[in-house]
């Protein structure tokens, strides 16, 4: 059973009256626990693919199946629930909530999920804070952190619900290469220990080469 499966997915954007075909029939499946990079030049459709997998956008044609659910069959509430329970997001620009401190930002998805007792919740958050190496920054606001630290918070936030799949669209694009590498190292570590399925995009070759599997996109199609 594949956590992610795309079957002949097409996606057209409408730019005014003009149809912009962003994906022209993409099919692939991801195995559980895979560490996958989506690569390709700018405008090749990486972000589009990740948005479809992340259930924040819908395909024009074809099926996107996440955790055995065809996303086109789901309504907004079901999609939201899928995002909350099955997916974790790491954003290029971190997207932390500015008023909340490190701890609160990480706890946020757990509060939405409501499946843990306060004590369990605290243990879980503390664990991930430790895991991303921000033990001494738990009371810091995002504005008081460096880019790398922020992305670590974002990773912890994405992982805290123990999602099956973690998505990341160019997680290192806003970081210098050294910090970017440490983030990739963290992701690799979690992948190998927790068997979380990772799928992320990048156009950094050095990062690309560290992935076990590379899906190469070009003009909205997969290059074999």
């Amino acid at each position: 059973m594949h956590p992610i499966e795309l079957v002949n997915v097409k996606k057209d954007y409408l730019l005014g009256n003009v149809r912009v075909p962003a994906l022209k029939g993409v099919s692939f499946a991801i195995e559980p626990g895979e560490f996958t990079v989506i690569a390709g030049p700018s405008g090749s459709g990486k972000t589009t693919v990740l948005n479809l997998i992340g259930c924040v956008d819908t395909a024009t044609e074809g099926d996107v199946v996440i955790a055995s659910k065809k996303t086109s069959d789901l309504n907004d509430r079901e999609l939201t629930s899928l995002r909350l329970n099955t997916l974790g997001f790491i954003f290029q620009s971190f997207n932390l909530i500015p008023v909340l401190d490190v701890y609160d930002n990480i706890e946020f998805p757990l509060l939405l999920k409501k499946d843990l007792t306060p004590k369990q919740r605290k243990e879980r958050v503390d664990y991930f804070i430790e895991r991303v190496g921000l033990k001494n920054h738990r009371k810091h606001r995002p504005s008081e952190l460096s880019g790398g630290q922020r992305q670590r918070v974002a990773i912890a936030r994405a992982l805290v619900t123990k999602p099956q799949i973690v998505l990341a669209d160019e997680p290192t694009a806003n970081l210098d290469s050294k910090t970017g590498q440490s983030i990739i190292d963290l992701m690799k570590e979690i992948n190998s220990i927790d068997k979380t399925t990772f799928i992320f995009s990048t156009h950094d070759y050095s990062i690309m080469n560290q992935a076990r599997r590379i899906i190469q996109l070009q003009d909205g199609m997969i290059l074999k």
Binding site: T80, S81, S93, P98
Partner: protein
């Protein structure tokens, strides 16, 4: 969970400090105004209720079923009494209604207005002498020749002064033609001649006629006095309106006819104008802290007093002239013998000398003048318009003045004087059969002409027209007055008609039930009455608090609307600014309802917090200022406040209502921005800030 919502909600409040501050101030002001205003309006409403019910209306009023207009005890907007017909049989109504257990008492009443023409000062003195002679002829032991002598001297004093006036050209002559004027002046000289007075007692009829008809027209008539009055069962009135109080004179003894003037009317309309102006200046200077040198109005008053000193001078009792002259000479430190000139000096009033002169005026001078056009104990002629449009006149004794405790000087509560029910009925035109016959006999004896309706309207319409009436007509009016002089006649006839009646309830909170019960009794016993509560019976005046409330409510509502618009605007702006964040929350898995809650909490916090501050401020003011009371500025305010100060208290129910309204309005204001926020796609999260 909740505290994260709060954190998110609070964030915006602090992020947009300026907007929050403006919205906050409006909400604070709005809720302050609503809480405070309601409390004050409530206090005014209950004060007014007290003033109205305790001075005229009682709890309920009844009047004829067939009334053409709704009853308005304070009169219609134009000041005319409301035309409500009458109910013919008071006893029957009273007996029937008192069966209802909640009715404590019924006081019959009726409102009307009458005029009194005081004539000019020579007329008055002539009339006084004539009465004395008449009484003497009837061998009245109370009339001594000394009294007649003194009255003659007073008349001579007045004529002398008139003569001085004519010589110095300061007489207020009203005769039209030169020949009339010259003939009047000739008659004045005749009347001043010593020989004229030698055989006065023997020929008083013709001599008084000469002075009254020929000389008096040299002088202006004093202006008409206008009385609104309430005819009522005076005993019942006194017993049921506990704030009723006699100020001067005495209450009308049981069974007697009579007139009680409201003290406010007495002090303003009946009092000599010079003295009244002194009072006005005193009030402005002492109570309102005004400065004579800075107030044009006060200077005008002083000027008017100087110009019209004659009005005071002519009420002087001639026998005191030397004493008063001496007193003034000493006080003013002037070597001047002419009293008129001394008075001129006296009324040269300035900032520094006013208070001392005021005191001197009342303590040392007032006793020698007649400061009121009507003295307590006088019998005055009242002329009223009857129901059918004739004039009717009676002479009635003024027994005293009254007021209502705690709103003493209120013009509204003082808008009427009191008259006994029988005199009222006569003035109103109710006649029993025997009374009608009696009148006809008198009329035929005197050969009175019928006055046309137009002429009467002229008399009532305006003074100018009245002056145009021929002398014969004027004489006739005064003859009618004499014809109907039965002040001393005992009340023998039974006449039960009344216009309206005040009902007092034992438990006034049961007003609605009692109204229903009275309507039921009315139906069963065929009483032909209508019943209304005090508010409706007081017409415009009673509706005033309702109007106040509407204005207040409208104003506060507008404020809240503005606040709501600003809340909406600020939320919308925040939504636009926070698109990526909202998208992120949605992407992470926050349902739409979560966003909605953030918005609701945010506005709830803003509106609760600020309206709470406003309410607390209002309560602080209510507890401090409200307990001590706001002083009533002016006499009208006293009526509305039902006392010298308005005390007000928190109205918890209304505070709750204000809160609910604020919450509701901000809830509504939240809907659109929240909806916009919920429409934001999680895709927004992916868009980089650029």
């Amino acid at each position: 969970m909740n505290w994260i919502l709060f954190k998110l909600a609070f964030r915006n409040i602090f992020l947009h400090k300026m907007k929050t501050l403006i919205v906050g101030s409006i909400l604070i002001f709005g809720s302050f105004l609503a809480v405070m205003g309601n409390s004050i309006v409530d206090a005014i409403a209950s004060g007014m209720k007290n003033s109205i019910t305790q001075s005229v209306t009682g709890d309920l009023q009844i009047y004829s079923e067939k009334a053409k207009e709704a009853l308005s005890v304070f009169g219609n907007i134009d000041g005319s009494p409301s035309d409500v017909g009458y109910v013919p049989n008071f006893d029957k109504v009273k007996t029937a209604l008192l069966k209802h257990s909640n009715i404590r008492s019924i006081i019959p009443m009726g409102g009307n207005f009458a005029l009194m023409n005081p004539g000019n000062f020579i007329d008055i003195q002539v009339e006084k002498l004539r009465t004395l002679y008449k009484k003497k002829a009837l061998k009245d032991p109370q009339v001594s020749s000394l009294e007649i002598e003194s009255a003659k001297q007073q008349l001579l004093f007045l004529l002398n002064d008139l003569n001085e006036g004519v010589k110095q050209n300061r007489a207020e002559v009203i005769l039209d033609t030169q020949s009339e004027l010259e003939s009047a002046q000739r008659d004045l000289q005749i009347a001043l001649a010593p020989s004229f007075w030698e055989d006065f007692d023997d020929n008083f009829e013709s001599k008084l006629e000469l002075i009254g008809n020929k000389v008096a027209p040299l002088v202006f008539d004093d202006s008409m006095l206008y009385f609104n009055y309430l005819g009522t069962d005076l005993e019942a009135f006194k017993n049921n309106f506990p704030q009723f109080e006699i100020v001067k004179g005495q209450f009308i003894p049981e069974g007697e006819r009579g007139f009680l003037i409201h003290d406010y009317v007495y002090e303003t309309m009946v009092k000599n104008r010079i003295a009244r102006r002194m009072d006005e200046i005193k009030k402005a200077v002492v109570e309102d802290q005004q400065k004579i040198s800075e107030s044009k109005e006060l200077q005008e008053l002083i000027k008017a007093n100087k110009e019209q000193i004659a009005e005071l001078y002519l009420t002087l009792d001639y026998s005191h002239k030397p004493v008063l002259t001496q007193k003034l000479k000493t006080y003013l430190n002037k070597e001047e013998e002419d009293l008129r000139l001394l008075l001129d000096h006296f009324f040269e009033i300035q900032e520094e000398n006013f208070l001392s002169r005021y005191d001197f005026f009342y303590k040392e001078m007032a006793p020698y003048f007649q400061l009121y056009k009507i003295s307590i104990g006088d019998v005055i002629p009242l002329t009223a318009m009857t129901k059918v449009g004739n004039s009717s006149a009676i002479n009635v004794k003024v027994w005293g003045t009254f007021h209502f405790k705690s709103f003493e000087n209120s013009p509204l509560a003082g808008s009427f004087s009191l008259i006994d029910l029988n005199s009222f009925r006569d003035l109103y035109g109710f006649l029993t059969e025997s009374r009608r016959k009696q009148n006809q006999e008198i009329a035929s004896e005197m050969g009175v002409l019928d006055l046309s309706k137009d002429d009467l309207e002229a008399i009532f319409g305006d003074d100018k027209k009245a002056e145009e009436l021929s002398e014969a007509q004027q004489a006739q009016v005064s003859q009618e007055k004499i014809a109907e002089n039965y002040t001393d006649a005992p009340v023998v006839e039974k006449n039960e008609a009344f216009i309206n009646a005040a009902l007092f309830l034992k438990d006034s909170s049961q007003m609605e039930d009692s109204i229903a019960a009275i309507q039921e009794i009315n139906k069963q016993e065929n009483l032909g009455i209508k019943v209304v509560d005090w508010r409706s019976a007081s017409g415009m005046v009673g509706q005033m608090t309702i109007a106040l409330r509407i204005i207040l409510f409208g104003f506060v509502l507008i404020l809240f609307m503005i606040a709501a618009l600003m809340i909406m605007n600020s939320l919308l702006m925040a939504t636009m600014e926070r698109q990526q964040e909202i998208g992120t929350m949605r992407a992470i898995g926050a349902p739409k309802g979560f966003l909605y809650k953030i918005y609701l909490i945010e506005t709830a916090v803003t509106s609760i917090l600020f309206s709470f501050i406003g309410t607390v401020l209002a309560l602080a003011v209510i507890y401090t200022v409200g307990r001590d009371g706001i002083p009533a500025q002016g006499d009208v305010a006293k009526f509305f406040f039902s006392g010298p100060r308005l005390h007000f208290y928190p109205q918890w129910g209304q505070i709750l209502v204000v809160f609910i309204i604020i919450l509701f309005i901000s809830f509504i204001a939240t809907q659109y921005p929240a909806w916009r926020a919920m429409k934001i796609s999680p895709l927004r999260a992916m868009q980089n800030r650029d």
